[in-house]
């Protein structure tokens, strides 16, 4: 059992979820409620990671974040580190390949909030910011929860993009999915089996917890 890889996976999943959630809320709100120009394009781009092979996505991220790219150079100038083959680059890649898993459930949840509920809040004198906190986020909570679970579980299991962007550097970019691949390559079947089983158990637990929580919310709202 590669506990280092496992800890790294958890760290990546947690960081991705924490950073992505507010971004997804910001992106999902206008997608749900306004008909701005280019909305269809944005929706398509957000959904793209669902269908692209991870290696394709990984390849473009590698090119875009690499030492030869403006982004990569700017990052190195700022921090003295490189984006690719580092945890930071892995986080950026993870944010991008998780976009649909975070944005889509939240967008659907905002979609389901009737305009009348927000209007009632405005007519109670609540600012847009206060309406977001007191009305929109509580009502969209099942969608947020779904986004959290999907993002977290999906990050734990992502393989292709991580390998392309992060490589296979112990303690820096070797996540549990890559470690499993390593174990199989090294004919360490027991190692691979135990880590795989742990990943299955974790994903199962996450999704079960999500179902239990949403059912409780549903009962509360009656």
């Amino acid at each position: 059992m590669d506990w280092t890889a496992f800890a790294l996976s958890l760290k990546l999943a947690a960081s991705t979820t924490v950073v992505l959630l507010p971004l997804a809320v910001l992106l999902a709100r206008p997608l749900a409620w306004s008909g701005f120009r280019g909305k269809a394009l944005v929706e398509t781009l957000v959904a793209l990671p669902l269908v692209l092979p991870p290696t394709v996505l990984g390849y473009y991220l590698l090119v875009a974040l690499g030492a030869g790219s403006p982004i990569g150079q700017a990052y190195t100038a700022l921090t003295g580190r490189t984006l690719v083959f580092s945890f930071d680059g892995l986080l950026v890649a993870s944010l991008i390949f998780n976009l649909p898993f975070a944005v889509q459930p939240i967008q659907r949840a905002f979609d389901a909030i009737p305009l009348a509920a927000r209007e009632a809040a405005w007519c109670c004198g609540l600012s847009h910011w206060r309406t977001l906190w007191r009305v929109e986020l509580p009502l969209a909570w099942p969608g947020l929860l779904s986004a959290i679970v999907l993002t977290f579980a999906h990050t734990l299991g992502e393989f292709g993009v991580v390998l392309m962007v992060g490589g296979n550097i112990s303690t820096e970019t070797r996540t549990v999915a890559i470690s499993i691949f390593d174990r199989v390559q090294a004919f360490d079947e027991r190692g691979a089996a135990s880590m795989s089983a742990l990943l299955v158990a974790l994903s199962f637990a996450a999704i079960s917890a999500f179902h239990l929580l949403t059912r409780r919310i549903g009962r509360h709202r009656g």
Partner: protein, 375 residues
């Protein structure tokens, strides 16, 4: 501050509006019209949820909207309490928190105390912790009213208005009557302008000091409900208030003191009330069903009396204690609708085909400017 709410709206699209109304503090104005007449849009303009193409709205000393001067205050900066048609309570908050939401600017202790007081005033004591899903329709309406009042009255620091968008349409009739009575009682204690949107003329008649009749977004007539309903300004208003006895006539040559003669149905009818019309003027006239009296068979009246119209019963519909009768007048062949207690209809054998004599009360006949397209 004492001038209340003053509204003037004008737009062509998406919903045409040409509507003026004013409402003094403590006054209840009913905005009445058929569905699609723009009354809810007008209300939403007042609340700040819709921006009309042109308009001015002021409440007390505050200008809420002045499109000419580029002023459009958002709903948050207008002290309006609004009860929405479907209440729009927030499902994740208890009754108490729904009301407290409108008092968010108060410190939390005071907020919950005030919210509790409003719930008590709307007879919801003991239901503070229930969520909207656990309340009946009537209770939800009361929470919505408490929330609107909490917002509108608040600390009383600025001019406010209470807006009610068909607040009684989603409850059963018994609850509706009860809620209407509660509103009638409550409003006597409120010194703010109240605008009630409704399509129900009876509701307007029961609750409103004045009503504004809206049709295709245009305010056609404003006045006390009795006046609008019995003295419509024109044929369109007459039709909207359901005045079916609408006829053509010509003002007669002779005019006595405060009495006008009207040539109609080939008869000379007396009209009482100070309506100055030049002799020979072609007019429309209406008589509300209450102004048509059946001459009972048991009371031997002379057939020479004033405004008597002889005719044959064409249709009789018994609606519980009242029977609605349509009479085709022998002279002129006009259809007169009226109603009478069902037991009298039975006693006098008012059945289709029977002959009957009715009197049109001179003070109930109302003359209006002539216009074409009258059936």
């Amino acid at each position: 501050m004492a001038e209340g709410l003053s509204v003037a709206l004008r737009q062509r699209a998406p919903i045409p509006l040409d509507c003026q109304l004013s409402c003094a503090p403590g006054e209840l104005i009913a905005l009445v019209g058929p569905s699609g007449s723009g009354k809810t849009t007008a209300l939403r303009c007042i609340a700040g949820l819709v921006r009309p193409q042109q308009g001015r709205i002021s409440c007390g000393a505050d200008t809420w909207l002045d499109t000419g001067a580029g002023i459009m205050r958002p709903p948050q900066l207008r002290r309006v309490g609004i009860v929405f048609q479907s209440y729009s309570l927030l499902p994740h908050l208890s009754a108490l928190d729904n009301v407290a939401l409108a008092l968010w600017q108060l410190p939390s202790k005071e907020r919950s105390k005030m919210a509790q007081e409003w719930l008590a005033r709307t007879h919801l004591h003991g239901l503070e912790q229930r969520r909207p899903g656990e309340l009946s329709g009537g209770q939800q309406q009361r929470v919505a009213l408490a929330r609107a009042l909490a917002r509108a009255i608040g600390d009383g620091s600025s001019a406010a208005a209470l807006l009610l968008d068909e607040p009684f349409s989603a409850v059963d009739q018994v609850t509706r009557r009860k809620l209407q009575q509660e509103l009638a009682r409550l409003r006597r204690e409120l010194a703010i302008p109240i605008v009630l949107v409704t399509h129900d003329l009876d509701e307007a008649r029961m609750l409103a000091d004045r009503m504004v009749l809206l049709h295709h977004g245009v305010s056609l007539q404003a006045g006390p409900p009795e006046v609008v309903m019995t003295r419509p300004a024109n044929a369109a208003v007459a039709r909207l208030v359901g005045l079916s006895n609408l006829f053509e006539g010509v003002v007669g040559q002779e005019c006595a003191h405060a009495t006008t003669f009207l040539e109609a149905f080939g008869l000379r009818l007396e009209v009482k009330g100070g309506q100055n019309w030049a002799p020979g003027t072609k007019v429309l006239w209406a008589v509300p069903p209450e102004g048509v009296h059946l001459n009972r068979r048991s009371h031997a009246v002379s057939r020479e009396g004033v405004n008597q119209v002889l005719g044959r019963i064409e249709d009789c519909v018994v609606l519980g204690p009242f029977t609605h009768v349509t009479l085709r007048s022998a002279p002129g062949g006009a259809r007169l609708a009226f109603s009478l207690p069902s037991h009298i209809a039975r006693q006098d054998r008012i059945v289709p085909g029977a002959e009957a004599l009715v009197t049109l009360l001179p003070q109930a006949i109302h003359l209006m400017p002539w216009e074409a397209q009258v059936s």
